[in-house]
Symmetry: C2
Subunit: 321 residues, 2 copies
Amino acid sequence: MVVHDPVRVLALAGGVGGAKLASGFAELLGERLTVVVNTGDDFEHLGFQISPDLDTVMYTLAGIANPESGWGIAGETWHFMSQIERLGGPAWFRLGDRDLATHAIRTERLRRGDSLTAVTSDLCHTLGVRARVLPMTDDRVRTTVHTAGGSLPFQDYFVRLQCNVVVSGFSFVGAATARCNAELSLNDANVPDAVVICPSNPYVSIAPILALPGLKQAIKDCGAPVIAVSPIIAGAAVKGPAAKMMRELGAAPSAQSVAEHYHDLIDAIVIDDSDSESAGAIEALGLAARTTPTLMRTQADRVRLAQECLDLAEALRASGR
Amino acid sequence: MVVHDPVRVLALAGGVGGAKLASGFAELLGERLTVVVNTGDDFEHLGFQISPDLDTVMYTLAGIANPESGWGIAGETWHFMSQIERLGGPAWFRLGDRDLATHAIRTERLRRGDSLTAVTSDLCHTLGVRARVLPMTDDRVRTTVHTAGGSLPFQDYFVRLQCNVVVSGFSFVGAATARCNAELSLNDANVPDAVVICPSNPYVSIAPILALPGLKQAIKDCGAPVIAVSPIIAGAAVKGPAAKMMRELGAAPSAQSVAEHYHDLIDAIVIDDSDSESAGAIEALGLAARTTPTLMRTQADRVRLAQECLDLAEALRASGR
């Protein structure tokens, strides 16, 4: 099946997994893709304003992401970091020499009063990214991780402690008063043909976006089919702590749990072939389930999965959902 | 002649030439050397607080300076800069990957309220520098270069325009109200055995230091012999625009002009063998002149020139000057 112009997609994404699917959509849709990216794990480090998920999406769409790690820039070097270590500076968060250019430019422009949206747009333009990449908000939202031993800023949990503590919940500090990105409009003239929740961590990548006042309701009300792609395959996350978090929060790590987590927002979920036995339970929630290979090893995998989502959206529209 | 413990030297220095002689003194004196360094050409670039002369002195004393350029770090790489260029950022001022670690740490600490003196001291300690390296002030002083076409911040003149405009004068904005480094005390208990004006640019490296309220008089009053080392050899500067500036300001570029420039502050000047014919004119100014090879190609050259300065200081003290 071919893509019918002018299909437009709004994708919600965190870092690596979200960026991969976004890159599939970007190849199919170019500038008709809008990616709204989590900024809850943004933080300040060594004086730099760092937006890990935005950079992962941007580098991935620009085709310069490190294919091994999924984040950072391919062929990166680490001379800055080794000198920081020599000077006794903090080395737990690794900043590559090339990556640092992004942080330096962003930090300086934000300090001069430019918005994160404007800076991101200019960086994307310079890197040849045609899709629209939007930080979820230009306001400050910070994900806090709650544990039995107290609360932690997200990067302390994620990078410094390598997720080696048990989580009990999350707060998105600032979200209640933050304004959703002003360029993200879901009014009549701007309704996308599909809203896709990328295979990102539901708790710390997608939840901060959906915590912005009015956004979840606007997505539900806009009339476009809403499709999630499960980040859980055969009981495990492809990358990151999503499955571990599910267990710690009392949910079985499964595609079905992802469907339950999103059930009041989505119309359908794309799950991996290996999870096909969950399809019945998901449909019992009133959701459509589509099974397909969801592991994205190559750019072709990403494009194929993006096309599956477009096909599913068209089927949902045709069936009046 | 051997150095008599505990000889102490106060050196005034700018960048490359000053750093070289300072490194000769440091080898002879260790922690008994204090280097007061020009900060008039400090500036903010790409959000970083950059102190070019301080860094050149620090890297040189640490033995990690780039031996070809005289500034920056040996074996430096430029991946940050190439990415800055790719992203359309400003590339006229080159920041090396390792050098950037210094700027990042300094910028963050200054923003947190630490003094430039404290940051410099800690960086020097980490790099194994035993001499005391003091920024001339913790206050903001900025050298402005006056030209027929208007006034320029120093780094615009020096790096961006590569000194390719005619200068008519200099201002040290902020100097009149800046306080000389609080750790630089010239009271009775702290009088050095010699004050040495390193072979740095008289107009833009040494003049900003001497523009700090009270410092010049304190040096004259402290009783130590004051010795300048001419940065001009055979009518030319070893590096930088000193000779060009002299011509543009109406002075012949010569060791004699350097002596005239400093005549009301110094007791003696060290000039190169090739300028020995100037000795008579210099002595006619009431100054002692010592001729010796002053070009510092090797560390041994630096140590030998430093030793010449110590010998001269001892001779001046013995003669009651």
